[in-house]
Symmetry: C2
Subunit: 104 residues, 2 copies
DNA sequence: TTGACATGCAACCAAATGGTTGCATATTAG
DNA sequence: CTAATATGCAACCATTTGGTTGCATGTCAA
């Protein structure tokens, strides 16, 4: 879970996920074309995404295909974000109530 | 949006959000008691959470109350995560299909 | 009014992060 | 076979990050 949050923290990595979401199974070279940084830097980002289980790769000859794995994102939505959505109205109400009681 | 993702990347900050979710409107000192680091470090984390609009604060005399703002989390769920949930089955299917075609 | 308490601010530090360059290896096309 | 292509690995670097210590300021209570 922590690895997923940390992986999502970088805009370049979110962009890679977006790219794979638009066109799944892209090769490293294909992803690099869109990324305004060296291939090696992209590799590092992809390694982090793999570590968070957000991307799976398959070697095909001398190429490497990258596939999006949306499951960890879904997990975060269910196990973490869901909790906050439930208390949403309550939280805003708490703040409002405290503001009313300001300068007592 | 980027600020929210980066704010959520640190486990201490997620813990602070959890604490405020459990008990809203806590003071800085109260939050520090649970955090195994100096008050100043906690302040830094809270500043980052405020910068991401995840926490709102009100000064009450010499104390400062901290309130959770769940709206940015909700925004991420709707505008970012939602996109991935839709393509979920498709993405897994892509990967499976590519695996079947391995070593061609 | 004075002392205790809650918070603010700033300098400093080690480690992590995001990027680079340079070179090595494996595969495919001609 | 050989040359071009696709990726891997490692050392290095600047900046950011997460934390500390030390001191300053503002507010409440006795």
């Amino acid at each position: 879970m922590d690895a997923v949050f940390r992986a999502l923290a970088d805009p370049s990595r979110r962009r890679l996920l977006d790219s794979l979401h638009a066109k799944n199974g892209q090769t490293l070279a294909a992803l690099c074309e869109q990324m305004d940084m060296t291939r090696q830097a992209v590799t590092k980002h992809l390694t982090i995404l793999e570590g968070a289980n957000l991307v799976a790769t398959i070697r095909k000859g001398r190429e490497k295909e990258h596939y999006l794995n949306p499951v960890p994102i879904n997990d975060i939505a269910e196990r973490w974000i869901g909790k906050y959505e439930k208390g949403r109205l309550k939280a805003l109400g708490d703040l409002k109530k405290s503001l009313e009681g300001e300068e007592p």
